[in-house]
């Protein structure tokens, strides 16, 4: 019998939700790390009981936690994130260059094959890797050579928030950075290049087709088709069929193409989920109706999924790391809101039920399918 474990990071702690494969009855444990912001926690695909968590605080800075028993117990591991060499500078609000300063870890991506290897995306934007289970961290500094001096923080900070590992090619990975864009390496991080051709940011950039500077919110990949990427940009939902070499818009009939998360069905590489949000200044669903949109055609044609979701007076947001899928059949889809609800669908989005309703604002949702 399968088991589902949902890892939820919130503004005031982490929660772990578990259910059997029916996904009808849920146990909730937590808060773990009560009072701390848990930007992200994620399990190792190679050892699902190995979890990593980013615990952060405006008072106390960054702490990293690791569990070896699926989140029952935790131990602090290394929290020293030192930029490689002389950190250098990036573009600042006033047009001057500003030194890189570590603030927090936004996203963790464990290796697909080694439980002791994990990547961390941080603010100010950089990529770190640990090969010893999080005890020590080394920067993959070549990323910042990909025009890093031109990157500038948006209002939400200059965070590296997305790390996508290519399951068919260990040397290839993608990262995405707020207000900088997508970057790809084909040599395990030794060199990087911007992968933003086809993105257009006519409202945000003086040169709408600039090589860097695009505010990418999230990218997602289906493991069976690693050259196909889906993107939720600040505005626009996009698709690449050539590993990020070029992008085409697939917003189609969405009510708004602004939003944060995007995810792919585990068994249908052309089925994609997004949560449209009204605008960059109004971070809530259009018309007060919380709707997930699903495309079964790889984009452009979208259907609203509303059953079980509030369809009036709903003004929550769904953040970029707060959506995930399980790998059962039919697949489960999960997302958390800034209102503290975690919604689950055991029917690939056809209907939804809140697992919990009153958590602190949800920052991240990850799902593990355990056998």
């Amino acid at each position: 019998m399968s088991e589902i474990r949902v890892l939820v990071g919130t503004r005031k702690g982490a929660f772990i939700l578990t259910s059997d494969g029916e996904r009808g009855k849920w146990d909730v444990s937590g808060p773990h790390f009560a009072g701390w912001e848990i930007y992200h926690l994620k399990g190792s695909p190679a050892d699902p009981n190995r979890l990593y968590a980013s615990q952060t605080s405006g008072w106390f800075g960054q702490v990293m936690q690791r569990s070896n028993d699926g989140g029952k117990t935790w131990e602090p591991v290394g929290n020293k994130f030192a930029y490689d060499g002389v950190p250098g500078t990036h573009q600042w609000y006033d047009g001057t260059q500003h030194p890189w300063e570590f603030k927090r870890v936004w996203h963790l991506e464990p290796s697909l094959t080694d439980p002791d290897m994990v990547y961390a995306g941080v603010e100010d934007a950089a990529l770190f890797r640990s090969a010893d289970g999080g005890q020590t961290w080394q920067e993959l500094a070549a990323l910042r050579e990909a025009k890093g001096h031109l990157w500038a923080p948006g209002a939400g900070g200059m965070g590296l928030h997305t790390i996508v590992l290519d399951p068919g090619n260990p040397a290839r990975m993608y990262v995405a950075i707020s207000a900088a864009g997508v970057f790809r390496t084909d040599d395990a991080g030794a060199t990087w290049r911007p992968a933003n051709r086809g993105l257009r940011s006519q409202h945000e950039l003086p040169d709408s087709d600039a090589e860097v500077g695009h505010c990418v919110h999230r990218i997602a990949m289906h493991p069976s088709r690693p050259n196909v990427l889906f993107m939720q940009k600040h505005w626009d939902v996009m698709r690449s069929d050539d590993g990020g070499d070029s992008w085409q818009e697939i917003s189609g009939n969405l009510p708004t193409d602004f939003g944060f998360p995007i995810d792919v069905h585990p068994h249908e590489p052309d089925t994609v989920f997004v949560v449209p949000i009204k605008s960059d200044s109004e971070h809530f669903p259009p018309d007060g109706k919380l709707r997930v949109y699903r495309s079964r055609t790889g984009g452009n044609e979208w259907e609203a999924l509303t059953k079980g979701l509030p369809q009036r007076d709903c003004y929550v947001n769904v953040l970029r790391d707060a959506m995930s899928v399980d790998s059962l059949d039919p697949c489960g889809v999960y997302f958390g809101t800034t209102g503290g609800q975690v919604y689950a669908s055991a029917s690939a989005g056809d209907s939804w039920t809140p697992i919990v309703r009153d958590l602190p604002a949800v920052l991240s949702v990850e799902v593990q399918t355990l056998s």
């Binding site: 701390w36 605080s57 800075g61 929290n79």
Partner: protein, 98 residues
């Protein structure tokens, strides 16, 4: 023996109940107290002062004997009442305000 009082979040992180009691080998200064504290509780490294610069984190303060010692030199001697354990050295999280 120097007594150190930590904010609740750091006590939880370091699995400390109540005060921490430290015995220092050399002169009793802020730096010596924090060095000894971090040596005994490595998970606190980086949470009170920056890993690289060793500067106090912006929203933490150091209080003792009804005084704010946060802006004192880290190498200045601590008050006698802290050194002899009459008064604790308090590490305090700033009010969030709002």
């Amino acid at each position: 023996m120097i007594r150190v009082v930590l904010p609740a979040n750091l006590r939880t992180l370091a699995r400390i109940r109540g005060e921490v009691q430290l015995t220092l080998q050399g002169p009793a200064t802020q730096r010596a107290v924090l060095d000894a504290l971090e040596a005994g509780y490595p998970m606190l490294r980086g949470t009170i002062r920056d890993h690289a610069t060793q500067q106090r984190r912006a929203f933490l303060r150091f209080f003792a004997c009804k005084m704010d010692l946060s802006l004192e030199s880290p190498d200045a001697p601590l008050p006698d009442a802290v050194v002899n354990g009459t008064e604790p050295f308090r590490i305090v999280g700033a009010m969030a305000g709002g």
